[in-house]
């Protein structure tokens, strides 16, 4: 098995990556601006829904039910999809999925594919696998195109190029599309992308997509998007391949009613996505003549086996938690070292990798709870973060100094006598660090803290001592 989430296993620890992100003031400005805009739009549209909390509960229940019966719904999806003329493949890991997709493309003797925005393909590093087999993938989602042309990485689940501003994008287009002139207005950039992409849509015979939802009862696949470029990829090529994480299945067509109401509002602050494409298998007179579905596990069944953490798989990739997260706001997405960034990335990436990599991610949160508050499927991200922190500690992967500090604190807090002794000790031990009545420079683990913050001293009398004397 080669379970991986892009190159997350090789990414630097979060605090290290975050430090360089924070030093990039342009990046932070772009991230702030973009997340502020989406947050405000989302808040407005959520406020107008009287039944928002009921919708969240319904969505959460549907997902919970589906995960409990995932095996049977997947088999049902396969049967329905095959009945509608599709072909279904089961991929245990990233490499197997990439081999299957490459095989299908090669069997048609084709060397170019167009792609709908799909994070699952970033997870398996499909583009690199295709390129090494002599196949050129073209990203057609505007933001993914910017990322691909700029040899960059996505930094947001919904808005992959959120870290770039208009001027930066203009420079990428000028250079990579070999343009002589290009205006500065959004419409100029959109026009350049349109010309570049239309040619691909009309020429390239195979399309690759992910999925927002795969419907078990009729084998339909659903993709929502804003640009219409996905619709082009889904309808123009002769062959369509959809790479779908197994958690994307939902039982019934009518369940979409719930998800389509919450997804666009949470993701882009729209009442409805401009394009919702739903297709079932193939039809003889319209759209692709061949439809292949690759169902991807890549660590998901392992996540499913953890009762507290399995809610991670309920995620519908709306990105609302990223926009709400005060940590993401400071660092942007790249610091998370994974296609899945922000709070959801902090719990998903380490779990997919069986807690063997990315172990600083569960600690990349102040547990403020803003993510849980906005999550349209009510994933209790802080609960899962704390649960995963427990796993990191139980595996013995926490820093030695921290272990010592925690054991010492546990010892000191085991009874009031010990606590009082510790209070007395702290009063004495702080003396060498005091200057102007506060501590301005602390050693070891606390050095980072005191680099920009003063620490109040431990006062001469504890509360319990005061209480005793008062009596």
């Amino acid at each position: 098995m080669s379970i991986r989430v892009g190159a997350a296993a090789q990414a630097p620890p979060f605090p290290t990556a975050a430090k360089s992100a924070i030093e990039d003031t342009q990046l932070r400005q772009n991230v702030r601006h973009a997340t502020d805009v989406i947050r405000a739009k989302r808040a407005m549209l959520v406020a107008e829904k009287q039944d928002w909390q009921q919708l969240r509960t319904a969505a959460s229940r549907i997902k919970e039910h589906t995960m409990r019966h995932l095996g049977s719904y997947l088999v049902q999806f396969e049967e329905s999809c095959v009945r509608a003329g599709g072909k279904v493949y089961w991929a245990a890991d990233a490499d197997e999925a990439n081999r299957m997709i490459t095989g299908i493309i090669q069997s048609h003797g084709v060397t170019e594919v167009i792609k709908v925005k799909t994070m699952t393909s970033d997870e398996t590093q499909l583009n690199a696998a295709l390129e090494s087999s002599g196949i050129t993938p073209y990203e057609t989602d505007l933001a993914d195109l910017i990322v691909q042309l700029g040899a960059d990485h996505p930094s947001h689940i919904v808005v992959p190029a959120l870290h770039k501003n208009r001027m930066q994008i203009r420079r990428i287009f000028l250079e990579k599309m070999h343009l002589e002139t290009l205006g500065h207005e959004p419409k100029d950039l959109a026009e350049a992308a349109r010309r570049y992409l239309r040619e691909k849509f009309l020429r390239v015979p195979i399309g690759i997509s992910g999925a927002n939802f795969a419907i078990a009862e009729n084998g339909s696949v659903c993709i929502v998007e804003s640009e219409g470029n996905a619709r082009m990829c889904l309808t123009l090529p002769k062959v369509l391949i959809s790479l779908i994480g197994i958690e994307k299945v939902i039982p019934r067509f009518r369940d979409l009613e719930v998800f389509l109401q919450i997804l666009a509002r949470s993701a882009t602050g729209e009442r409805m996505s401009p394009y919702s494409s739903i297709w079932s298998g193939v039809s003889n007179d319209d759209g692709p003549r061949e439809f292949h579905v690759v169902l991807l596990d890549n660590g998901r069944t392992k996540v499913l086996s953890d009762e507290t953490a399995r809610q991670t798989l309920h995620c519908i990739r709306c990105g609302a938690c990223l926009n709400a997260c005060p940590v993401y706001r400071q660092t942007g997405g790249h610091a998370y070292g994974s296609i899945y960034s922000g709070p959801i990335g902090a719990i998903l990436t380490p779990q997919l990798q069986s807690m063997q990599h990315s172990q600083t991610l569960p600690f990349a949160s102040s547990l403020c709870g803003a993510c849980y508050e906005v999550c349209p499927v009510k994933i209790n991200i802080p609960e899962v973060l704390v649960h995963l922190r427990g796993k990191v500690v139980d595996q013995g992967d926490s820093p030695v100094a921290e272990k010592v500090a925690m054991k010492t604190a546990a010892f000191a807090l085991a009874g009031p006598k010990r606590l009082e002794a510790a209070q007395t000790f702290a009063r004495l031990a702080q003396t060498p660090f005091l200057s102007d009545g506060v501590m301005k420079s602390l050693p070891g683990m606390l050095a980072g803290w005191s680099s920009v913050r003063d620490l109040m001293p431990v006062p001469s009398q504890s509360f319990r001592d005061w209480w005793r004397q008062r009596k």
Partner: protein, 244 residues
């Protein structure tokens, strides 16, 4: 009413004035306060950092100490949130049905200080006098776990002489997060910088909160930058009286 004070370990050690203020306010309102000296810590720091095994005995002690107390008050949203959000699961993991029952009986008896005042005692007018311009930082636990809403603000607005000013982007975390600020000092500092800017923009003399942990963090940044804003736990504001 007899109210048992859960001071919390860090208030006991670092912020005794907050504990004294809680006692003063409750006694002024005609209630009696007891302090059970066997108490230590709720286990929040250990649990949130992943040290569940170490958190468990601390929870057991707290459950034991307050077994016979009818009303327990704590001037710390995050410690009350720890009890309300995590104790049931922690007891469940310990595999003891008896402990689960005792935790279930404890949870509704523990109230955060402003919750106790507004919900349980039905008080917003505490007889305080505090002639200062004050802004209020709703800590994440008070805002999202305990859902204190405007209770602390109503208490502050009822204080004579106090001029309340609203904090912009109040719902943004200050970046403390317990060991988060130690493990991710740079991100935490960037979050703190935003919070300090928001506090400074109000022109307030004092920034209040229901959590001394956040205030310690905000104070740390403000003091380093020599900003003239002070911090105060809400209990200390409600405890202050007009000089006679």
């Amino acid at each position: 009413m007899k109210i048992s004070l859960f001071i919390t370990c860090y208030n006991d050690t670092l912020f005794p004035e907050t504990g004294k203020a809680v006692v003063r306010v409750l006694e002024r309102l005609g209630h009696s306060v007891e302090f059970r000296a066997e108490q230590t810590c709720c286990g929040q720091m250990h649990l949130n950092t992943g040290y569940r095994k170490e958190a468990l005995p601390l929870m057991r002690r707290l459950v034991e100490v307050f077994e016979t107390a009818d009303v327990i008050c704590s001037p710390s949203s995050s410690c009350v949130a720890m009890i309300r959000e995590h104790y049931a699961q922690l007891a469940n993991e310990a595999g003891s049905a008896a402990l689960c029952d005792r935790v279930q009986s404890l949870i509704p008896r523990v109230l955060e200080f402003t919750e106790l005042l507004v919900d349980k005692l039905g008080v917003t007018e505490t007889g305080a006098f505090y002639p200062h311009k004050v802004t209020y930082h709703p800590s994440c636990h008070s805002l999202r776990t305990l859902c204190l809403g405007d209770k602390p603000i109503r208490l502050l607005k009822a204080v004579r002489g106090l001029r309340y000013v609203e904090l912009p982007q109040a719902d943004q975390c200050c970046g403390f997060g317990g060991t988060f600020s130690i493990k991710n000092p740079d991100v935490s500092a960037a979050m703190l910088a935003d919070k300090m800017q928001a506090v400074a923009s109000t022109g307030a003399e004092v920034c209040a909160a229901c959590d001394n942990s956040c205030l310690m963090h905000i104070y740390g940044g403000l003091h380093r930058q020599r900003q003239p804003v002070r911090v105060a736990h809400i209990a200390e504001i409600l405890a202050s009286e007009e000089p006679k």
